[in-house]
Symmetry: C2
Subunit: 255 residues, 2 copies
């Protein structure tokens, strides 16, 4: 979606290392925004994005117009269900259908051997892996680790919406997730206990509302009541107009 930051650049570097040709798609996809969301104010720093791509050795930017991808008589949508229903899908009911539709189009148009997606949008990553498998698209989806600020905040194009005060508080999201990871690593299994301690870290900040904070199976995203196996801790909070999501993977090895 453009507004490139170090997170995107880490994907480009991965692609640059492993592929002969690197294509970046930049498209603020209207289908994945809800009616009350930030489509119109989503940042579009065109010159800066182009400059960053050039510096990172990108061979081609695929920068379609809205009319090219969605002509007036466009009628088709791609849905991945049940993976799209929970978590972000509950908070943003049409979001993943928009993501799945545009990613299907982009992969069919560009036909990459590999496509690099950030683990930051963890559920999106699973939705995309699923649709690629289900529609037999001949592209390998490569997940890349979340890039963070020095204090732990996951990079996101939406971080620029935060006021200086909100930015200071935002660090608590990753701190809470890290707390969850540490508890699980120390052997705490009872998820309500883990959640309560994560909420303590988030604290009672005015204007920070928790949407969800869940310990889930890393493949199905079903919430767990006891920590076990490969897990992801998913978090979503709202700070004023801004929604922030983050996640961390954690694993309890079998005895």
């Amino acid at each position: 979606m453009g507004a490139l930051h170090e997170g995107h650049l880490s994907l480009i570097r991965q692609a640059r290392k492993h592929c002969s040709t690197v294509v970046v798609s930049i498209f603020v996809n209207p289908l994945q925004f809800g009616p009350a969301e930030d489509l119109n104010r989503y940042p579009k720093p065109v010159k800066n994005d182009r400059q960053l791509c050039r510096e990172a050795g990108v061979d081609l930017i695929f920068w379609p117009s809205r009319e090219e991808l969605y002509p007036h008589d466009f009628q088709t949508s791609v849905k991945v269900s049940p993976m799209s229903l929970r978590w972000e899908g509950e908070a943003r009911p049409t979001h993943f259908e928009g993501v799945a539709t545009v990613v299907t189009k982009l992969l069919i148009l560009v036909r990459p051997s590999h496509a690099y997606f950030g683990q930051k949008d963890y559920q999106q990553l699973l939705v995309i892996k699923q649709l690629v498998q289900d529609l037999n698209i001949d592209t390998k989806i490569v997940p890349c680790p979340t890039i963070r600020e020095a204090d732990g905040l996951a990079l996101s194009s939406r971080n620029r919406y935060l006021s200086p005060n909100q930015r200071r508080q935002a660090v608590r999201v990753s701190a809470a997730l890290r707390q969850g990871v540490q508890l699980i690593k120390r052997g705490v299994c009872h998820v309500p206990t883990i959640q309560a301690k994560m909420k303590n870290v988030l604290g009672d900040v005015d204007g920070l509302d928790i949407e969800y904070l869940a310990v889930c199976d890393a493949l199905s995203l079903e919430p767990l009541s006891r920590a076990k196996g490969n897990m992801v801790i998913l978090g979503a909070v709202r700070m004023g107009h801004v929604r922030l999501i983050d996640n961390m993977l954690v694993n309890v090895p079998k005895e």
Copy 2:
């Protein structure tokens, strides 16, 4: 879906004439059958289909198993809306989603330059054209004329379900559509009049129920009240357990 007849063979001949390699897919797609429909009794004359393909010079039959196309964790569907909502979509609510999903998969797997579909399933043809355009699939969809028995009945794998008596009555469907075409060609514009005369041709046959009989815009499938432009007359009837559909194109040239 196999159970090949002269209609399918005409598609194969078209492909054989224009393409260097001809691939036929045979797959009775469970997704496009409703729960009360004929999935389990749908004919599967495997040997005969293979023999017909061989005789017609087919290079490859793509004959996947259900588990290959829909593994147990399959979650993705493709929807074309509003084109799928009317007519057959109303009678068979999940049908076109099943068709759109399997055709997307088949086109992505086989990657044909051209794909040949019968005009007999006219709304299906429009749904497929739309999804190919919308998902940027690099295949040209080639519509082929409906093949008919000597008395006018459109060929269909489902005709074999008809009893001898039903088979005699079934000819009335194409006769009614032809009556509609003739009236429009003679300058009759008032669609309710045309519909009434078509119903007269269908007659009051015991066990023949009309589902729809409509004069529509040939591109949008919106029903018309006055005949004009490029039109399709769509018909669907039910004879006992058997649903028959048929259609004819007609055009009123502008003055």
